[in-house]
């Protein structure tokens, strides 16, 4: 265990834990856009910047992104230092210039008293903040169907050669986890379309609900060694079946009781 001070509060944390996690556990409001429990910290949005120092540093202060900084014994953290708040404000202002049409960024900016960007707003913006969560989650799931392409301000998220990504299984992990909701997808009947690729949605053979995509089922079946037929039934029906079976074993099926 290590001991540190965050905004005047002395706290304990596990060695190797990242500073941001400890800060959030304390209920302190430090914004972050690219951090996600499911994937490794990335340090792209820089909003979780904090000021750190130590007694032994003789007044010297350092500015670090807390999502990537492992806790240290004796660390004195200031999450609301003047310089930190100013930097955060500028960073949000810059994001607003990049994504002027994003309601999420507009709200974040408003929280910091910014109603209009003071920089040159991007024309025809796709409102993507380039946090890279979509690509990192996709890679983490084992598919890496999309990635970032190009450099600098031209950086964007794309499929290989901007064509329907061959490795995409249509799981929607990218779209659901996008903090600014800018990855579009459509569902119509048993068709789902994302990244210009069309997927067939499996219809549950029991209840008729639409479940996951055929490609997702195939991939899961391979990865987890589960027979493909398992995915013909939706999760809810599987659970219901399991419950019924367990009840039968225990001998307290309600329906049977009622019948007798």
């Amino acid at each position: 265990m290590v001991h540190l001070t965050i905004d005047g509060t002395r706290v304990q944390a596990k060695e190797g834990e990242m500073l941001l996690k400890v800060i959030k556990q304390l209920g302190i409001d430090v914004p972050s856009l690219c951090d996600h429990d499911a994937v490794e910290p990335f340090g792209a949005c820089r909003l979780c910047l904090v000021e750190i120092t130590k007694q032994s540093w003789d007044g010297w202060k350092k500015y670090v992104t807390s999502c990537l900084y492992p806790v240290e014994d004796g660390l004195i953290v200031n999450t609301q230092a003047e310089k930190v708040v100013e930097a955060r404000k500028t960073l949000i202002d810059l994001q607003l210039a990049r994504c002027p049409g994003s309601p999420e960024i507009q709200q974040l900016a408003a929280d910091y008293g910014i109603t209009q960007t003071s920089y040159e707003p991007k024309i025809d913006s796709d409102n993507c903040i380039l946090c890279g969560l979509c690509t990192r989650i996709c890679e983490h799931m084992g598919f890496a169907a999309i990635s970032t392409v190009d450099r600098g301000p031209d950086r964007r998220i794309a499929s290989p050669l901007d064509e329907p990504p061959p490795d995409c299984i249509g799981c929607l992990a990218c779209a659901i986890n996008c903090p600014t909701n800018v990855i579009p997808y459509t569902e119509k009947g048993n068709k789902r379309t994302i990244w210009d690729k069309e997927f067939e949605l499996i219809t549950c053979s029991k209840c008729g609900r639409k479940t996951i995509t055929r490609d997702f089922a195939r991939a899961l079946s391979k990865m987890r060694d589960i027979p493909e037929a398992y995915f013909e039934v939706c999760d809810a029906c599987h659970r219901a079946e399991t419950a019924t079976n367990m009840g039968r074993i225990a001998g307290w099926s309600r329906r049977e009781e009622a019948a007798s």
């Binding site: 792209a44 820089r46 500015y63 992104t65 930097a87 500028t90 210039a97 380039l130 600098g152 950086r155």
Partner: protein, 620 residues
């Protein structure tokens, strides 16, 4: 010729003698510089011509083998260069047609071809290059062999004592002694960071985790810089030897040289050098008969500037996208494949054999107290003698620009010198007496960087310079983190606004504030030093910025939106040259009559200005 492996230091001594005897056979040697500058000016053609002339003419006492293609000799401004050793007879701007004269007069009749000698701006002619001020004020350690040996022949390198330092390290020194020696030398990373190399090696050697990796950073990306390229192309074995010594010190058996794809010759020569060294048993398994093995592979980069940053470089070597990661855990601890890694640049490694050979104390005596040794620079821009130079640390900027560089072209006033590449800074004339070393340059708001040095005269506009370097950094930012990607871009847009006369003084404050945030919040060194082109110019040239903003005027006459081209009626003789040069058809006038420029049509390309022999086009 069958090659027997060098199996002991004695073998190496024997081989060195043998190679020296081979060299001594030639009473005279003809060196044709095949550095990047000379090659661009046709050195390859000259080599071919020499070969065919020498074959045809059969000079007594001079065989074709005595003609050598060498790495960069340094004086690129005067290239292609041909040097006759040991006399040091120095021929400049040699053309194909001059080759026959050199062969006939110098090689056959022992005479000097006077009109090919170097004539300084003060009309003095030099026979021996060592007397020329450009060379006289230099001290060459990292560049010691450049221009003196054939870069593709390991036997040339061995003849001048190559691989002796490695033999010394392997047989007479323990790894910790090698580290001690490098620490004593005070060698600091020549890639720009200036981190003490010995300390870096020590922290890697101490880590128990294996394997350890040794990487050489040859991703020289600064515009106008070519020091590392010249070393890799001109003396590849010195880099290999330095890396092998480092590998021995930190117990590594695997090394990588990261070279940008834009340096095909460096890749080719390094590959050949590795192959040769392995054949001789000086690299690979059981080096010099010991149980130390070290293999070097070449990793080619796609030429992204950010891949010169250590963590991005290591990702690129590992085959991933070259993006930096946060370095709260240093790359010495978790580098390539998350293993302990020593990363130094080309020039640092090239210094190592000399340090081991002559001792750390000897090296520490050169240069200043905190910056030992010498530093190579590529001196470019509006300077008379452009080229590759190496000077002891502590040499002043004035000595470099005026004594070695010969001052400013066309005797125009000096304005600034830009050091440290895109993320470095511009220093004005009152900083000319600053000593060139890591700490002084950083304190002055610039930095040492990897050694690019761009000299600017009055015709250079600092706003334009800041704009250029900011654009470079915007394009080269990987785009991973917000402050660098968006911040530098907005900073660039504001610089453009100034150059167009559309900015207010508030914009300057905004730029300074934004710069501070970019420095504090960026992920890697590229972003953290990204605002430097702006910060160093505003620090020393605020007035020039204000002239752009308040008076809507560009004093240097560079910013297109703020200048007009006008014809000086007194000077114009109506030759029509400008009319033909003007792509916008903005100039009219008959032959022999004063021409006029239609400002509504003029797109300010400057073609008229460039073409007018009578200096009748004025910039207002």
């Amino acid at each position: 010729m069958a090659i027997t492996k060098v199996a002991s230091p004695k073998d190496l001594d024997k081989l060195q003698k043998q190679c020296q005897t081979e060299q001594d056979k030639h009473k005279r040697k003809l060196m044709v510089c095949c550095g990047p500058g000379c090659l661009a000016n046709g050195a390859a053609e000259i080599v071919t011509e020499f070969k065919s002339q020498l074959k045809k003419k059969r000079i007594k006492g001079f065989s074709v083998e005595a003609m050598k293609e060498t790495g960069c000799h340094g004086f690129c401004e005067q290239g292609p260069l041909v040097v006759v050793e040991p006399q040091g007879t120095f021929y400049t701007r040699v053309k194909k047609k001059d080759v026959e004269r050199i062969v006939e007069e110098t090689l056959r009749n022992n005479k000097v071809v006077d009109d090919l000698l170097y004539t300084a701006p003060d009309e003095k002619t030099y026979r021996d290059y060592r007397e020329i001020p450009f060379y006289k004020h230099q001290k060459r350690i990292a560049l010691r062999n450049l221009g003196h040996i054939n870069q593709c022949d390991i036997r040339d390198y061995i003849a001048v004592g190559g691989y002796q330092a490695l033999a010394k390290a392997l047989n007479k020194m323990s790894p910790s002694k090698v580290i001690e020696e490098v620490k004593t030398s005070g060698l600091r990373g020549r890639g720009g960071g200036g981190f003490p190399a010995g300390r870096k090696w020590e922290s890697c050697a101490r880590l128990e985790e294996r394997p350890h990796y040794v990487i050489c950073n040859g991703d020289e990306g600064d515009p106008g810089a070519f020091m590392d390229r010249a070393i890799m192309e001109g003396d590849p074995h010195s880099v290999l030897e330095g890396m092998a010594i480092c590998a021995y010190a930190v117990d590594s058996s695997e090394g990588y040289i990261y070279v940008r794809e834009e340096y095909p010759l460096a890749v080719q020569f390094l590959q050949e050098a590795i192959r040769e060294a392995e054949e001789y048993g000086l690299l690979g398994d059981n080096i010099l008969g010991t149980d130390f093995s070290f293999h070097i592979k070449i990793s080619r980069g796609g030429g992204a500037f950010v891949c010169g940053e250590s963590s991005a470089l290591m990702k690129s070597v590992a085959g991933e996208v070259g993006e930096p990661r946060a370095k709260y855990i240093r790359s010495v601890q978790k580098g390539l494949y998350d293993r302990p890694t020593v990363l130094n640049n080309v020039e640092s490694y090239a210094n190592v054999p000399v340090i081991i050979d002559r001792g750390g104390k000897w090296f520490a005596k050169i240069g200043t107290e905190t910056s030992a040794g010498t530093k190579a620079f590529s001196l470019v821009g509006k300077v008379v003698n452009g080229g590759l130079i190496e000077v002891p640390m502590g040499t002043t900027l004035r000595e470099i620009v005026f004594d070695i560089g010969g001052g400013i072209r066309n005797d125009r006033p000096f304005k600034a010198v830009q050091t440290g590449g895109p993320s470095g800074g511009c220093l004005p004339d009152d900083k000319l007496d600053l000593s060139v070393d890591f700490d002084t340059l950083t304190k002055a708001g610039s930095m040492m960087g990897s050694g690019g040095m761009i000299v600017m005269d009055e015709g250079t506009c600092v706003v334009d310079v800041a704009k250029y370097f900011l654009k470079f950094l915007v394009d080269e930012s990987c785009g991973k983190c917000t402050p660098c990607r968006e911040g530098l871009y907005q900073l660039y847009l504001l610089a453009v606004k100034i150059s167009e006369g559309m900015a207010t003084e508030n914009d300057l404050d905004k730029m300074e504030q934004l710069s501070g945030v970019i420095i504090d919040a960026s992920l890697c060194g590229l972003g953290k030093s990204g605002p430097n082109p702006f910060l160093s110019t505003i620090r020393y040239f605020r007035d020039e910025y204000l002239t752009h903003i308040r008076d809507k005027r560009c004093p240097a006459g560079v910013c297109k939106a703020l200048i007009t081209y006008e014809v000086d009626a007194q000077a114009c003789d109506g030759c029509m040259a400008c009319i033909h040069a003007c792509a916008a058809n903005a100039i009219s006038g008959k032959k022999g009559e004063v021409h006029t420029i239609d400002q509504t049509k003029c797109d300010k390309c400057g073609a008229c200005f460039a073409v007018c022999n009578r200096h009748a086009i004025k910039v207002a």
